[in-house]
Symmetry: C2
């Protein structure tokens, strides 16, 4: 069902400072930057996994709430699946519930859905079909 880790979402307070650290210190260049509503996003590639840095200073945003509760750091892990509808169905049969009842459009032409984090042992999980 799960092919690989597609990306790891990281909540940050200061996107530019974070990018400088990854580019200048770790030598991992940014491959893409964009904005969705009030969220500013940048990607860095490590092997075949992306880090997705997320900055949103709106206190009502999921990113700001994550930082308020847990501090900066990893917010979610996204798994690449071949067929998201089929994967969701297989998980629902086993009792897993989703934040997104059906796949919705994600970044870069993908279809995504977040699992409800209640039963995933501390890791917020997303499915991605590309």
């Amino acid at each position: 069902m799960i092919e690989k880790i597609d990306h790891i979402g990281i909540a940050v307070k200061d996107l530019e400072a974070t990018i400088r650290f990854y580019e200048q210190i770790l030598e991992l260049p940014v491959t893409e930057k964009n904005e969705h509503g009030t969220t500013r996003v940048a990607f860095v590639r490590i092997g075949d996994v992306d880090f997705e840095f997320l900055e949103n200073n709106d206190p009502e945003s999921a990113i700001a709430k994550h930082i308020a509760k847990r501090g900066e750091g990893i917010q979610h892990v996204a798994y690449k699946v071949r067929d998201i509808a089929k994967a969701m169905e297989a998980l629902k049969v086993k009792g897993i519930t989703f934040i997104d009842e059906a796949p919705r459009p994600g970044a870069r032409g993908s279809r995504i859905a977040f699992l409800h984090p209640k039963n995933t042992y501390g890791v917020l999980m997303e499915l991605v079909e590309r």
Copy 2:
């Protein structure tokens, strides 16, 4: 310098319950289990990255402290490097400090060192040479 993500360390309260979730729900089988002192460890492979689940109920342990402060979830990310001594030197020149002043033996014949988390934007980072 960094070749790929070697593994992602996840602090959990109940290793057996966590393993059941990953094996039975996500269909990701455990590849290895072991114990180091009071820490119980299990590995699951996703693509070419390992999840390393860590359970330690000693309240003085780094794992228990992480859970007390941030809840269950991702505790660190380990980057695979070819030459850990050379990578540490390159990072120290750029002002990065380490919890481990020199590489120390890690699991499965590796050499490891943790970066000091003060300046890594919320992600505890480890270098691994295999």
